[in-house]
Symmetry: C3
Subunit: 248 residues, 3 copies
């Protein structure tokens, strides 16, 4: 559909493997990967509300990118990370959709609305061509749990599990202030009342195969893994589960 | 292999996720997606008969596309939907294969025959360069079950299950003539003697999470889904299963 | 990351489906596919030792390709097959990495080292720009089991299982010298003490659905399959398992 509008578009299909209905998973995926992509038009669709009154939007961010997708929070963390929103428009102009005069699917806006609008933007259309401007305060956000420190214990949450079973948390290095956790030390991990020992280290190979590691991942967030193993399965760690971390 | 012949080819890898040996699944995938692709050369390989006497073919259709693949019915529904076949040629000219003088794999014609021929066509070769012309009547077809209405009950079949567990049927809107099913009404679904209630609606969000919906999907065929659930698993619906639909 | 450095790079994403931590699987995948790719820069990352002292390398081979990845044997069988290594350099020059002055992830060298170096090579950098030259003897290799013939029995090993359950072995046609196995004959397969009958044939359709076939696959190595079935599951054949083949 994009090539029908921009025959020479270079399209990077980032993934079709996002968890179904997982708006937050998709939002975090964009948050972590868009900073490493060239400035461009980014199209994302995780859209359980397709066919309802939920808005379709295009956002321009400070870095210069345009983001296109449903107004369900999916685009917001990435927009924030790319410098913040400088303009938001609703996708109301049907002339930028796939069927200017015809019918639009009630279940596949990716094909009929988002992709064509993204293509027109890539081809030179202005955000204002897509529809009326919105105030940023009108946009939906995706709620993320916040980490905290309680009596030297860092209380975080699992956010995303990758295909290796590595679990990224909602915690970054600064959140560890107030704990006595230091690189190379042993930490106690508590998940659903069960306690595990892990090493706070830099990379998988700092522990033996089968051992737990807590590390700062490639996106600067804290993650839990088992060297050559599957931490999510072993610890029964699913997104949103509380993870308590303390020195030992 | 294609880039070795046409270094600047733009290649859209539609999927490698088609069901194994599923000629009909592949045929329906092409049928549903090629109308939304730019006019071009389309290469498709679902080929359980590779290495046998089954023919390899290239088809030209009225819209201007060329379709390349095994002569096992895979290309036929899409060819019909793109306006019908205007020419069919057998892939007999080994000069358009990967090894003009050498050996050709008995198990990987995708690499050694189909991809090179598709590349040569994209580069400007004529269909006639590939081999002798065939009459359309000589081509294999893929048998699809036909829906019918019996005493106000629409009798269809499951065709394809997507990764969400949504089940597309061999039924389109016109096939519902003769039933009293209207948009927004409750319908009774019967699968293998079990009966379920569903809403005939436009989009997933028209029902609550966990509820069954019958809807016209993005390709204008009738489909069965569960909002945020897996209809194929819940109803034990596999391709070819009979689905009976009646008003309630 | 590559497009940030070479905006017009044509990128062929061969697979993200390699078995986790499977250096040998990845090595065999490159060995089997690179001969069919155009001469170019090939980037491969299966890297359980990321963040340790394992070296990162770029190799130039006789065919003219440059191969970039970890020095853990991953690149070696393919390099051999593309004519052998003509130069090897360690990736030590941080100016070709993603963050010339900043920090580099301890767990994602694919993004921060391998991809940027590959991009710079594609853009015209010399191998020597990446870092000091290495002697080929300093490079890690990946150990592959060797087949043998014992009293007319060919003793090989399973190497790779594809998504169809077809099992490629470490055996090619020449290794069969000394056995009495001939095309079209019945052979006895022995796996973990269990014996099975198979046909030594050219293609799947030479046997009935559900029957075992031993055949020369598209990469000229011997493979075991079940026509329309899953040989790896049926024979409980995992990589490294010994497979004994004899005429019957």
């Amino acid at each position: 559909v994009i090539w029908s509008i921009v025959p020479d578009a270079r399209i990077n299909d980032l993934t079709h493997g996002s968890r179904q209905y997982g708006i937050r998973d998709g939002a975090l995926l964009l948050w972590s990967s868009l900073p490493y992509q060239p400035v461009g038009v980014h199209l994302a669709v995780v859209d359980p509300g397709v066919g309802t009154e939920r808005r379709a939007v295009a956002l321009e961010v400070a870095r210069g990118d345009r983001l296109v997708g449903p107004d369900n929070g999916l685009l917001m963390p990435a927009a924030e990370r790319l410098g913040g929103i400088v303009a938001a428009h609703v996708l109301a102009n049907r002339r930028l959709w796939r069927h200017p005069e015809g019918s639009t699917s009630h279940t596949f806006h990716g094909r009929d609305i988002f992709a064509p609008v993204a293509a027109h933007l890539a081809r030179g259309a202005e955000l204002a061509d897509a529809g009326d401007q919105l105030d940023e305060s009108e946009l939906q956000t995706v709620g993320l749990p916040q980490p905290r420190v309680e009596d030297g214990t860092l209380v975080g949450h699992a956010l995303v599990v990758d295909r290796f079973g590595n679990v990224a948390m909602n915690v970054d290095h600064d959140d560890m202030t107030g704990t006595d956790i230091t690189l190379g030390s042993t930490v106690e991990l508590e998940v659903a009342g069960e306690r595990y020992l892990a090493t706070y280290a830099q990379t998988f190979a700092d522990v033996s195969p089968g051992e737990l590691i807590v590390y700062e991942d490639a996106y600067r967030t804290l993650a839990v893994a088992i060297n050559r193993g599957d931490a999510a399965a072993t610890l029964a760690l699913r997104p949103d589960a509380e993870v308590r971390l303390r020195p030992r």
